[in-house]
């Protein structure tokens, strides 16, 4: 797997019905890797009443058959899956049957990851409303523990992610907003697993809405940082926009200190994929402009890579 590859989420440009064309398209935009939003496929096929999904009710073998065209396209275009975005939310308070279904579907997704050659899956921790942190931690540890055997079986690293909660137009801290808490989760779970099967996905946009220090968060995570969700916002809404487009309240200064991202990644020796999660930045523009916008995103990625690798 290429070091500091440039990746992008599949949401808003990937055609589930035509993997060949989709992967050729994203390769033409320059990308080396994709963050496969399997969560979107789950949402589109899940029937809450029946607790069934036309896709995820399939056997692992049938799922591999389903993903054969994608695997072929990836091989042909020399694109790899750097990470898969798991189902979210992963947990619904008081809905045990639903939770069980999600766990089973996620285990099957691990098998899909292995089949596609993907080493990491991002699974959001649960952020409970009006609950104490200790209860939230208890629920999350239980949730992730259940997935340890399947993660070991398929050789997948489960990545937690820094989240936020919103109320009307304001965003608040949620599970893993704090870097020390994230380290605690990763270290505790790895200790229980007896090996390093848990890591972290740093969501740069979420850092912005919760007001954390991006550089300090990265350097605190250190080697626990496995994958990234790179995107921009105005610190008010989690907009998932293209980097270098959003200002602070002065209207003239960048809201996110992108130099801090570069400096932090460089200092911890990060060599994973520089994966963008800019689905709104893509969705809100006319379809004809999207390839050019994705090429700009790719160029931003190559700039980041150059700075991290060469110390520009």
């Amino acid at each position: 797997m290429k070091k500091l590859a440039i990746g992008v989420q599949t949401l808003k440009w990937y055609n589930e019905g035509n993997p060949e064309e989709s992967i050729r398209f994203i390769k033409n935009c320059g990308f080396d890797a994709i963050d496969y939003n399997i969560d979107a496929l789950f949402k589109n096929t899940f029937d809450i009443e029946k607790l069934s999904s036309a896709i995820f009710d399939k056997s692992v073998d049938a799922l591999k058959e389903y993903y054969k065209p994608l695997k072929k396209a990836l091989n042909e275009q020399d694109v790899f899956v750097s990470q898969v975005h798991g189902i979210y939310p992963m947990y619904y308070l008081g809905e045990e049957a639903r939770n069980e279904y999600i766990i089973k579907a996620t285990e099957k997704i691990f098998a899909v990851c292995e089949y596609l050659g993907c080493k990491a899956i991002v699974l959001h921790p649960w952020s409970g409303p009006d609950l104490h942190k200790e209860k939230e931690k208890e629920i999350n540890l239980e949730l992730y523990r259940k997935l340890i055997p399947a993660a070991k079986k398929y050789g997948i690293m489960i990545c937690l992610e820094n989240l936020f909660k919103h109320h009307d137009y304001d965003c608040f801290n949620a599970a893993c907003s704090n870097a020390e808490e994230s380290c605690w989760y990763v270290d505790t779970l790895n200790q229980e697993a007896g090996e390093e099967i848990f890591g972290f996905c740093l969501d740069v946009g979420h850092i912005c809405v919760t007001g954390e220090n991006l550089y300090q968060y990265i350097t605190t995570l250190g080697k626990r940082l496995i994958v990234l969700h790179i995107h921009d916002n105005d610190s008010i809404s989690d907009s998932h926009l293209i980097p270098y487009t959003q200002m602070d309240r002065t209207g003239y200064r960048l809201r996110i200190e992108w130099d801090w991202l570069i400096r932090g990644l460089k200092e911890i020796g990060y060599d994973g994929t520089l994966s963008f999660e800019v689905f709104n930045g893509i969705q809100q523009m006319p379809e004809e402009v999207r390839p050019a916008a994705l090429r700009l995103v790719y160029e931003i990625g190559t700039y980041f890579r150059k700075c991290i690798a060469e110390g520009e």
Binding site: Y244, A292, L296
Partner: protein, 319 residues
Amino acid sequence: MKKLAVGVSTARWIDEKDHVASIKFIKKCGFEALDYQINSWFRQTFDPGKMTSFFDKSVEDLYEHYTPMRDAAKEEGIGFSQFHAPFPMYYPDDAARTEYYLEVTQKMMAIAAFFNCPSIVVHPWGEWDGTQGITKEEEFEVNMRMYRRLMPAAKKYGVQICLENMFGVRRTEQGETLVRGACSDVNEVCKYIDTLNAEAGEELFGFCLDIGHARITGENIYEYIKTLGNRLTDLHIHENNGLMDAHMFPYSQEKVIGGGLSVDWEGFIKGLKEIGFEGALSFETQHAIEIVPAGLKQATLTYIASIGTYFRKRIEEKE
């Protein structure tokens, strides 16, 4: 110059010490026309104490200075759609400075003609901060006097003067508020242009619609363009979130409350299509260039050019 040429303001990327390399660079980014921000060079060289600048040179010397730039543009197939004059053009308490700016602007018109550039954007003056107690009628008279002064040079050099829709910043004890400024109201714009052209006896005045300013003052872009009709000659295409004049590229900013695209680009395209606009699709996205690292300037400009190409395609396509 090509109809609906894709253009960009020279602010934040042009190297005034190496015009030839700059022209080659912007061609590589995909642009076909330039809005030469000659006012930036003026500002860099202007000494308000001595009332001197680079533009104290004779017109002949200025032609000589700009010859390599003109030749490079010709060689690369880059046109000049518009110049941007110094602003503010009028200083109520400084007659000498106002006079100097008017003199310089006339030389800039000569340079525009030298570049075969058809227009120069000259901002109308407005009651900028609300502290001077100027009425709309007085503002109109000041602007009429200012534009009248420029008529002879405009005729001489064959350069159209374009007014522009402005916004104001009203400063009170409660703080700053962005408000409508001179030419925010499209009917006021039409009155200016029609009155000035009637006085000039020819179509010497046109209009530069600044999309970002229109967003700030809450105008309906489609209606504004339709009302302007063929008075619309130039554009300043850029985007903001409605609160600050951020000069970013289209499709990048969201409404602060509720999200969603900040600017009605569909109304913009529809309006230009309906009035048969054929001028340059000129971007004034200098802040988008200024805030990216040097290593991303070319990629950003290339992306902006592709948005322009998209606009042109949509405007040209048959229903």
